[in-house]
Symmetry: C2
Subunit: 395 residues, 2 copies
Amino acid sequence: MRKKTILGVFGFGCVGQGLYNVLHQTRGFNAEIKKICIKHPEKKRPIDSSFFTTNRDDILNDPEINVVVELIDDVDAAYEIVSSSLKKKKAVVSANKKMIAENFPALLRLQQQYDTPFLYEASCCASIPVIRNLEEYYDNDLLTSVEGILNGSTNYILTHIFDNNKPFDEALKDAQRLGYAESDPSLDVKGLDPKYKLLIILVHAFGIILRPDEIFNYGIQNLKDADIRYAREKNARIKLIAKCSKIDNRVYAYCMPRFIPLSDTLNKVTYEYNGLLLEGAFAEHQFFMGKGAGGNATGSAVLSDISALTYDYRYEYKKLSQKLNHSFTQEIELEIFVSYNGETSPDPADFTGISVKHESPGFNYMIGKINLAKLIRATWREDPAVSIVLTENNF
Amino acid sequence: MRKKTILGVFGFGCVGQGLYNVLHQTRGFNAEIKKICIKHPEKKRPIDSSFFTTNRDDILNDPEINVVVELIDDVDAAYEIVSSSLKKKKAVVSANKKMIAENFPALLRLQQQYDTPFLYEASCCASIPVIRNLEEYYDNDLLTSVEGILNGSTNYILTHIFDNNKPFDEALKDAQRLGYAESDPSLDVKGLDPKYKLLIILVHAFGIILRPDEIFNYGIQNLKDADIRYAREKNARIKLIAKCSKIDNRVYAYCMPRFIPLSDTLNKVTYEYNGLLLEGAFAEHQFFMGKGAGGNATGSAVLSDISALTYDYRYEYKKLSQKLNHSFTQEIELEIFVSYNGETSPDPADFTGISVKHESPGFNYMIGKINLAKLIRATWREDPAVSIVLTENNF
């Protein structure tokens, strides 16, 4: 008989309540929530007030609590909670991609130093089992690429725009109302949230640890109606794609919008769903799709981590320990579509080749090949009147 | 430092060679093949002859060999090898769905009695991680349904028929030549192979152990050109679907062809790929797609089991131990399309309702609702002139 899991939970927002729901509707699982630490005791809560505290030490100093679940928004406070818990040898489960991506090296050291597991399956694609599969199943597969739609909120917005002709702002408000968007929506629409997830995937797929500022992210906030129309004319939708891929020993990564032809598998990923394509030498193409946001979907992934802790599961960071000597590069060529107004236009000298240049009243665009490192340095790309979408011709 | 894995392999066909390839191209994995037991020493082999033996005891009695990999066709011999290995406390990895499905209770007892793990991830959907995910990840999800395309060979045949207008026989020969078909193709086309996989999934998804003869399978061998044309007219393809699903505490299961609308996610599963849809109370819809056949894809799944054994992984059969009290039922209503020639026709009295009856020169069909248990007992369904396809209206 395994030791009973006694949980201390930080945060009782969308995911915290999802965890509570999931935990109370499943059977045969020997775990209970003892305390929930919250910031706003005045808020009305759907469960008994005896669960709640505003004092973090009621959880951190309770020797009976053996698993800490961190589900708060504030990144600094979250890191403080996770590191304090690990130092007290309490196993931790977190869904906080930003906190993990920004503090990865320190979190790795703490796990090793205090010999205590830290699991974060829910941080990547909510309900889709990504991290444990990358660790356990693709351990001996020669992975070459992981790419997909890692942000439920922007995918929800883009689906509404393309399928239901909704304006951007209205679609964003819907996503927020349904709990699919981060409380700061710029994390989603600027492509930061999927970048944090990509950083975590890079560790478990390729053994590469990077800082968030080392990966290029370009969001969907500058997309114009004309860009949407252009995509429709080309029988495509636009999706925000996070990708990391390996060429020989060099790994590149980015998070950018891309035209996805209607016939493409990724076009099956609609609304708040996430989808992930893996390519490997042996398993070849694999595709995973599931809910990428929402309290119950994320709560169920958190619970699967809590369940894994009952048999002392911990990430072994196999790709890190294999010393694969992969190096990170931004020296790759991408083909991009750039639309712009009359005042700001992309500098043709930045491109290695331009295949299309179109100018018409109200809609100018060009399609050309550009080195990713050069695109990152280009100042014209920062103009809100410019919008950039990867063409479907990118490997 | 973990103990080195020394493998004894039975069989060196498509999957055995795939395992050899995968193992020799991956790094950081501390395992080697010591002996391979084969039946035909006279066959030319692509690797050094010192690997081979025809004497099973060279593997079973070698104390250095700690993992036995069973990859042969003969079901009785395979069971004998697996059970002998477990009795000698050698961990076993197998990809033999038929052997596992036919001997499940005995194999479960042997694992418990000799406290030795038996893993068989490759038996279900080759490269798609199914069993370990059902065990580990959907442990606390209230699963309601698992369905999909579990047979790469028939899917390859049906894709060729629908997309490339190939005749059935030619498509089957192609599948065999490429190593996607079982050596006895009737295992594939009659729906037996996916039924064996469904039996294994039933254990890990719902904790239900059944004999193969307890699940209805209906294959694709009776499909006529007129049925294919009918599907095309309705903007659908026909796919062989294996499904198990739960209504309250009752679980039903079957393996039958179904019309799949072109817009359906399952239509993205083409050629030798498999695809699996999971439905649960919390994670809701999830979809997995990957290569369901072929030496390297299957070999890579075998290697992932070998890798899992290095950290003493074993299936805990959580759904069995949770004592879920699910009962198996065939008392469900299905809507089916039945085509027939003039001589044999389905008995209308077997149906609870007939919505369409069509008679024309050379093509008669009806669409109606029928209880699965009644369909199983109906003698008309055994006539080769009759072909049955589930409509898309089945839950």
